[in-house]
């Protein structure tokens, strides 16, 4: 009895600790974004600024086309996410259910392509893209993001598919449903939380991706958000801390909105319903 009584408060305590760990850095970033450079370069440590300095936001928006590059990032992230899900969904099913050489080759490629350091493939990749006329273009970057997110997406989704017991599908098949119907009516709904998780992950990978964007994009009008934010760091390690913090806060808003919209989808609740009947 006592253990159970302690459980709830203990859980809330743990939750509070997590909230602090996850949220405090963002809070500090917001605090930095409204401080003047004098205060940021002083020894004072205050959550609330001594003087609210909103100029940092104006400065961030003025510099380097922050909004435009955010738009670029958004397009690339959305399109590559859509492509990744569309391609990875059927492919991960195959990967999870089929044993043998196909699976081995798939797994082998997935692991190798992710472990092999990117600096060693960037040059051949650049040459290939340039031959296809896709260097320095958002289309090229989208394709690259799709291709390099696919392994993770495949790997994650096949994990979720594996967690769905095979006999659910067999039960459906025995009830007379064709393979496609089984996939559509039984597997995909159960997979929904996994699909949402994979989509979120794919969006974020693309949104935050820096190295490919840095090297493959040349014209400033094609720059994505991480590139633009990076330009707040000058030579000799000079960092315009206030405007950078402001820019980072602005850049975080679309992601946070996206997450808030999707958080309900992480709930299944469908599983119980689908099976009981």
């Amino acid at each position: 009895m006592t253990v159970r009584a302690l459980l709830r408060p203990a859980q809330y305590l743990a939750l509070a600790a997590y909230i602090l760990f996850l949220g405090f850095p963002l809070l500090w970033l917001i605090s930095a974004s409204v401080k003047s450079s004098g205060e940021l370069n002083s020894l004072s440590v205050n959550l609330l600024p001594e003087q609210w300095h909103w100029d940092n936001y104006a400065d961030a928006l003025d510099r380097q086309g922050l909004i435009h590059s955010a738009g670029n990032s958004l397009v690339v992230a959305l399109v590559s996410t859509a492509l990744v899900i569309v391609i990875a969904l059927p492919a991960s099913y195959v990967l999870a259910r089929l044993k043998g050489k196909v699976r081995a080759a798939g797994v082998g490629w997935i692991l190798t392509s992710q472990v092999f350091p990117v600096v060693l493939v960037i040059l051949p990749l650049f040459l290939i893209l340039r031959t296809l006329g896709l260097a320095d273009s958002l289309a090229g970057l989208t394709l690259v993001h799709t291709t390099y997110t696919l392994p993770f997406a495949l790997w994650m989704l096949q994990g979720y598919v594996t967690a769905i017991p095979v006999d659910l599908e067999e039960a459906g098949a025995m009830d007379g449903a064709g393979r496609w119907t089984v996939l559509r009516r039984i597997v995909f709904p159960l997979l929904m939380p996994g699909i949402v998780a994979t989509a979120m992950f794919s969006f974020v990978s693309s949104w935050n991706e820096f190295f490919f964007a840095l090297v493959l994009l040349q014209s400033p009008e094609n720059y994505t958000l991480p590139i633009t934010l990076n330009m707040f760091i000058g030579g000799e390690g000079k960092v315009a801390l206030g405007p950078l913090a402001a820019g980072a806060v602005l850049a975080a808003i679309p992601s946070i909105v996206f997450f808030t919209l999707l958080r309900r989808r992480l709930t299944s609740g469908l599983m119980a319903g689908a099976v009981k009947g």
């Binding site: 450079s37 020894l43 600096v119 051949p124 090297v215 000799e236 390690g237």
Partner: protein, 422 residues
């Protein structure tokens, strides 16, 4: 494996054929040059754009397009794009970064495109830092040096006379630091989290060269000249206790906070921080710049100027070189350096700026320190970057942290070089 090489070569050949076809067809219109510029703050960007606009107005047949890029990451960008044959026509970078590209063969020799007077306008030492195998592979534009900023009020309180000669010695610095270390104040704050750059840059004042030979034949040489400064810093930090300990592990910029708060009487910084200090210091903060530091071998410091180079594979090398000539005119360089708070690389621009800003706090000493910048061997050593990141920086950090002594430091630097080159 040979077939792969054939494929790669075929791919590259096909690509260059396509590129050649494309560029060949559009020659009757105005020439467009891509100028990759790294200015990171609004005033400098505005100054750069103004110069480019002036050029574009007076040269309708050679138009220059500014492509903004960030300092952080430009190296990776350049090495990939140059190796793939897609680099910009005019490259803005710094000597330490650009010399390796010259050794790779990517940069055009500017000596034939620039008038002799132009080359004479740059002090010998600085010109040497951008000359590789007799070729002038970049034109220097802006320089910074390490200078000592001091809190005049704290110096007065300690009864220290402010040095006023053309230079001051490191021993004088040590004495002032000792005298001002009292009542909870430290004499000096020095941000040495990246110690190698400072040690190598200031070594010429002690006769230290760090390297003999160039390219792949270079050898590290750690002798008295090279160990003098580390020993001095160690003495000040651990014997005199006149260096605020936390600053030794912080970046230069972070060491400004204790300076503003009056916890340190002096701080060694890049000269460009003068603008930031003017802006961020508390009201009434009385800061001055001390005369340039001189070791036993003089006040020399290693120069690492910002540079403009021309891509050898550009279709319009001559026009690009002409733009570089225009960009680095006395008037333009003076404006640019004023916006960036840096020291112009040409003597004429430095004189012009001196005339204009000579009355402002700190500028005379800063501009004067520009006279003592010279080339240093590390620029031309092939494996310097790897040695710096994997051997030197850890070794210096351990030394300053008291984990190894001077002999240990000297050993690690030398042995580390040997392992890298095995």
């Amino acid at each position: 494996m040979k077939s792969r090489r054939v494929v790669a070569a075929a791919l590259a050949a096909a690509t260059s054929l396509v590129l050649a076809a494309c560029s060949g067809s559009g020659d009757d219109g105005p020439v467009t040059l891509k100028f990759q510029s790294l200015s990171d703050q609004p005033a400098a960007i505005a100054a750069t754009n103004k110069i480019v606009d002036d050029w574009n107005t007076t040269h309708p047949d050679v138009q220059v397009e500014v492509v903004q890029a960030g300092w952080d990451g430009v190296y990776d960008k350049l090495i990939t794009q140059l190796n793939a044959g897609s680099g910009p026509d005019i490259i803005h970078y710094e000597a330490a970064g650009v010399v390796p590209f010259a050794r790779d063969g990517y940069l055009a020799d500017l000596s034939s495109y620039l008038p002799d007077a132009k080359k004479a306008d740059v002090p010998r030492g600085v010109l040497d830092s951008v000359t590789v195998d007799g070729e002038l592979i970049a034109y220097p534009t802006e320089l910074q040096s390490y200078v000592v900023f001091a809190n005049k009020a704290l110096l007065d309180k300690a009864g220290v006379a402010v040095p006023s000669g053309p230079t001051m010695t490191w021993d004088q610095l040590r004495d002032i630091a000792k005298a001002t270390t009292r009542d909870g104040v430290y004499g000096l704050g020095w941000g040495l989290s990246s110690p190698t750059a400072a040690m190598v840059a200031l070594a010429p004042g002690f006769g230290g060269k760090y390297f003999d030979g160039t390219g792949t034949d270079a050898n590290v040489s750690i002798g008295q000249g090279e160990m003098a400064l580390p020993r001095l810093v160690d003495g000040m930090a651990h014997q005199d206790n006149s260096i605020l300990p936390v600053t030794l592990t912080q970046s230069g910029a972070k060491a400004l906070a204790p300076f503003y708060a009056g916890q340190t009487a002096m701080t060694i910084q890049g000269s460009f921080q003068a603008a930031n200090i003017a802006k961020d210091a508390p009201d009434g903060f009385d800061w001055i710049v001390l005369p340039p530091l001189a070791g036993p071998a003089g006040p020399a410091q290693a120069a690492n100027p910002q540079t403009l180079s021309v891509n050898k594979d550009s279709d319009h090398v001559e026009e690009a070189a002409q733009f570089v000539d225009f960009f680095t005119s006395t008037e333009n360089l003076a404006a640019l350096n004023e916006a960036d708070t840096l020291i112009p690389a040409t003597t004429s621009a430095r004189d012009a700026l001196s005339a204009k800003l000579g009355g402002q706090n700190g500028w005379p000493q800063i501009l004067a320190s520009g006279e003592h910048l010279t080339s240093a061997p590390y620029l031309f050593v092939d494996k310097y970057a790897q040695w710096k990141d994997t051997v030197a920086t850890p070794a210096y950090q351990k030394f300053l942290g008291g984990e190894i002594d001077a002999n240990g430091l000297s050993n690690e630097l030398t042995e580390g070089w040997k392992s890298i080159n095995r």
